[in-house]
Amino acid sequence: MFSLTLDDWARGGSFLHRRDARAKLLAALLILVLLATCPPRALAGFTVLLLAGVAAAGLPFTGVLVRASAVLPFALTFTVMNAVSGDPSRAFAMLAKSYLSAVAVVTLAGATAMPELMHAARRLGAPPALTAVAHFLYRYLFVIAEQAARMRLAAESRAAARRSRPARFRAAAGLVGVLFARAHLRAAHIHNAMLARCFTGEFRRLAQPCFRASDAVFLLAVAVAGALARFAPAF
């Protein structure tokens, strides 16, 4: 499963894994902004920079590149629209930027445990409700995916596959509806379980990560490298 693989990757011990999650999150955001605003001729520099990031994290290149391609179906829609409207170079740049952005995100997720990422976002000022929702989404993604798989199996076992396309669509819609209802019920149960253990609205942690000098150096290095990749081709 996609997220289980990222989960495994995030347990690594590379140089990038050991950096504070806030430094990695800020570095990734910086790269994304620079990448989004760069001219097409700067894309090669960002490609090198991101591949260096994948290497520093000790992640498998093929695995990262394949997972980043999940963004392509969405990006392709806009690429085709741009290409059809007579701007192929812009279309290509959009596609490349989308893909490289996805590589940056997959690298970040593969080098940082998701809870650390949520906590870093919270410490950097993200709204607590947003990080709490993301935390629960991550935790229960697996549970809901398992539930969906079981329900699909149950539907198939009752010959849903042999039915017409509209009938299958109706079955799928029903499945999604039931899944929502169950997720809602589970949310109520989880809330009760949290109250039962004296939850007061704030997630407390056993240990607060500390931002070391090496994290600051890492962030600075990424900023300099990103700025070089973004602005150097202009000179």
């Binding site: 809870p115 991550y138 935790r139 697996f142 589970r186 989880i190 009760n192 253990r197 939850f199 056993l206």
Partner: protein, 230 residues
Amino acid sequence: MNPLVSVSNLRYRYEDGTLALDGVNFELFAGETVILFGANGSGKTTFVHHLNGLFRGEGQVSVCGLTVERANLAAIRTRVGLVFQDPDDQLFMSSVLEDVAFGPLNLGHPPPHALTLAKEALERAGMLHALDKAPHRLSAGEKRRVAIAGVLGMQPEILVLDEPTTFLDPPGQHDLLALLRRLPQAKIIATHEAGFARAIGTRAVFFDQGRIIRSGPVEDVIREFGWEPK
């Protein structure tokens, strides 16, 4: 001897009008393990949720001498450890250790002490080896043990378990039984499993349509209501 839990004439109606509890009277004493029997929908889960102050109906509920009311909720929730039917509802943190430390941290224990409590609880539940694991990587039996550790970390005086054998295979049930026997707390266990109840219960009550209609020795209640697979 004063009861640890005392429930008097408890009534509870859900928002849709369903009368879930209709005048329940109940007492739990130190050292007891009381089994709650009854068909699905008979009121067992609704009842146990009252013991932790999650639901509040009409009537009187007191735990360790404290009336279940808003002002006493924190104190009551430290005394009553409630283990939910589906451990996935209870294991909401991203690692086993973080989850077991959730309660102690909420009680205001400093992180180093919360860590000690969490590790002790995991050790008692036989899950210390899994402290770094994510909950979705645990088996059903392991999840159940971690869920129990999650309430043990709060050092409760009473353990309340709602259908603890759900999702467990016979070896898993056997392990759970051994774990529960080792724990000294008074226990209330809602279950359908007659064998499990026999092995651990000191007394049983039978729920029917929101009422306790029988209380007595486990074997008698099982026999009277035919609560055993034929």
